[in-house]
């Protein structure tokens, strides 16, 4: 734990694997930049790895004022203990007031280990971050400019704002996909600080025997239009309707957890609290009742079209276009309408 230190920087842990920067730290940069501006301090990224200098430059383009670069052959592959030790040392050396991590598999493995060693607070899976003041009920003390760590809890039924005013740094993991990425500015300049790393084989208690990474079958985060099906679609065969509608819209096919559990489609396509969080221009919810856990992953969509035969389905509460009807009738009509319109458009263009 470090002392409360209002001059401390805002840090982002820049997760990378094999020299490839993950999306989440980039998503975090634009938000972290605003937090740092509000506090009037610098934004820094911490990169651990072996041969990660290119990543440092990239992070500056995405908004870092400073990059702490910790390179060592033993940091080439992510491991909990080695990464936790180096991050712990960096935090105690520079005393940042805020440290943010992506809530990825590695981020959620690493951050609690650091928090425990540092005896500092950590809030999991935040969906928003703000700067604000907090008054302690017991003694009326006011703590200014704290990190408001906003997260859903209790299966998404409530939103809790968590603070940490006495044992710093203030740390949080942030859900993937909830913060929009900003465009890089290649003219930005920043400072790269090379760190000497004290690390030995003993800090690597795991032996990684085998690793299989596979790219996700679909990139839902980047999709402009998403067509998602729920349990109401009825069967894997009938899920073809979702694929067809997605195809003619140039959209990504997606599903609720219920549809994935029923085997209609692979879990890579899952949207919701336990799946991917998406923010497309258009989200078509087909045969989806709209459980709060699903809404948590798609409520930031610009426009929502819901098709369901139950007029009381909760999904209609957040839909801009409500279609109460049988999806087996509505979806084919929709495909037909889209095809007709696009043919007409083409004709207009040609004329």
């Amino acid at each position: 734990m470090i002392d409360v230190n209002k001059q401390g920087e805002v840090w982002v842990f820049a997760e990378q694997h094999n020299g490839q920067l993950e999306d989440t730290p980039i998503e975090l940069m634009s938000k972290a930049h605003r937090l740092a501006d509000t506090l009037g301090v610098k934004l820094a990224a911490a990169v651990l790895g072996d041969g990660a200098r290119d990543i440092a430059t990239k992070l500056i383009h995405y908004g870092a004022d400073k990059v702490y670069l910790a390179e060592h052959p033993l940091l080439g592959t992510y491991q909990t203990n080695s990464y936790a030790k180096v991050m712990f040392d960096l935090i105690h050396k520079y005393e940042p007031q805020i440290v943010l991590y992506g809530a990825t598999a590695a981020g959620r493995d690493l951050a609690p280990r650091i928090a425990s060693a540092a005896k500092a607070g950590l809030t999991a899976d935040c969906t928003d971050l703000q700067i604000g003041d907090h008054q302690v009920t017991k003694n009326g003390d006011i703590h200014k400019n704290l990190l408001f760590q906003v997260r859903p809890a209790f299966g998404g039924n409530i939103i809790a704002t968590i603070i940490n005013y006495d044992r710093w740094p203030q740390m949080a993991t942030v859900r993937e996909g909830v913060m929009p990425m900003s465009e890089p500015d290649v003219s930005r300049k920043g400072e790269v600080i090379e760190e000497k790393v004290q690390i030995s084989k003993q800090d690597l208690p795991l032996e990684i025997l085998e690793e299989h990474k596979r790219p996700k079958k679909v990139n839902l985060k980047a999709a402009r239009i998403i067509v998602a099906g729920g349990a109401g679609v009825g069967s894997k065969d009938n899920f073809q309707l979702i694929w067809d509608l997605a195809n003619c819209l140039g959209a990504a096919p997606a599903a609720t957890r219920a549809a994935v559990d029923l085997g209609f489609i692979d879990s890579d396509h899952q949207v919701g609290q336990t799946g991917t969080t998406v923010r497309p221009s258009l989200y078509l919810a087909v045969g989806i009742s709209g459980a709060i856990q699903h809404q948590a992953g798609m409520s930031q969509s610009q426009k929502v079209i819901a098709i369901n035969n139950d007029p009381d389905a909760p999904i209609f509460q957040i839909a801009h276009y409500k279609i109460v009807g049988d999806l087996n009738v509505v979806v084919p009509k929709m495909i037909k309408a889209i095809k007709e319109k696009s043919i007409k458009e083409e004709k207009t263009v040609k004329a």
Binding site: D109, S116, A337
Partner: protein, 304 residues
């Protein structure tokens, strides 16, 4: 060789059935207003321990920290095959965040001692933080293997497991002792065994006994209640049916690291989720209705 497993379990409110009335004014949860269940992935952790015991032998100790009512999941664990169960209950544990919780649990695991494998569910469905496992591993100074979906190999020196790393998996090996966090995909938890249910259905924690005596003897003095409880406890203990109950004094825990004082994170505000579209239109499921809607979306450049 046999392995001693310690399994950390939690009783959680069934988060699929939460209403605003279940929240206290201070932003904490009124757990008594919700149906309480065995945290699902903790059942997977217990199942993995049971499979290790079935194959290699050894002892399984389950530990939970919580209110007296959490005794129910300890009994459930005994029904399924755990050998020993411990309830950590103490008012000074209240309002512990993940850091304070992992500290208290680390004191308990150290007290149990002589462990080879510590198992936790990946995360609990009330907070979904997945933090207590890694924090506990750090406090015990042992390696962690998170998101375990399969145990590959176990021998006197090391454990090999397959872990889910999001888009893909990893097979890792580490020396014992180690801590594992187990996912819901790891196994199908067994149901309670009828024989064990018969054996343990009357197993109780001291606090449950005391509460029952208090409810049945409203006129009795404090001293009488204590005497009665003591008597009943020793009778149960003779039959091997007294579930262990530890408090922070017994754990010799440093109170600065427990409960509210030991928790760096505090609740600033709690809001109920209200989701509603700003503007909303009903569309007729007719060809014209749908065609007009598609036209509007093209006009608005939402689809092209």
């Amino acid at each position: 060789m046999a392995y001693n497993c310690v399994v950390l379990i939690k009783q959680v409110p069934d988060t699929k059935r939460i209403t605003g009335e279940a929240m206290n004014d201070d932003g904490t949860v009124n757990r008594s207003a919700l149906p309480a269940i065995f945290n699902p992935e903790d059942l997977n952790a217990l199942e993995l321990a049971l499979q290790i015991k079935d194959k290699f032998g050894g002892k399984i100790t389950v530990i939970t920290m919580g209110l007296p009512a959490a005794s129910a999941i300890l009994r459930d664990s005994l029904f399924r095959g755990a050998d020993d169960a411990i309830l950590i209950t103490d008012q000074r544990c209240a309002a512990s965040d993940t850091l304070a919780t992992s500290y208290i649990l680390s004191c308990a695991v150290k007290k149990v001692g002589n462990y080879d494998i510590v198992l936790c569910g990946r995360q609990a469905i009330d907070g979904d933080t997945a933090q207590v496992g890694p924090q506990l591993a750090e406090k015990l100074g042992i390696p962690q293997i998170t998101y375990v979906e399969e145990l590959i190999e176990l021998n006197s020196k090391s454990i090999t497991a397959r872990r889910n790393i999001g888009a893909g998996w990893q097979q890792v090996r580490t020396e014992l002792p180690a801590l594992l966090t187990v996912t819901g995909d790891a196994n199908e938890p067994r149901v309670a065994a009828a024989k064990k249910m018969m054996k343990y259905k009357n197993a109780r924690t001291p606090i449950e006994i005391e509460q029952k005596i208090r409810a049945e003897n409203t006129e009795a003095t404090e001293a009488d209640i204590r005497e009665l409880a003591k008597h009943k406890c020793s009778k149960l203990e003779e039959k091997g049916l007294l579930i262990k109950q530890w408090d922070l004094d017994f754990l010799e825990a440093d109170l600065n690291w427990c409960g509210r004082t030991g928790s760096p994170t505090k609740v600033h505000r709690i809001q109920s989720v209200v989701l509603a579209a700003k503007e909303s239109k009903s569309i007729e499921p007719s060809e014209k209705g749908i065609s007009d809607m598609i036209h509007e979306l093209i006009e608005d450049k939402i689809i092209s």
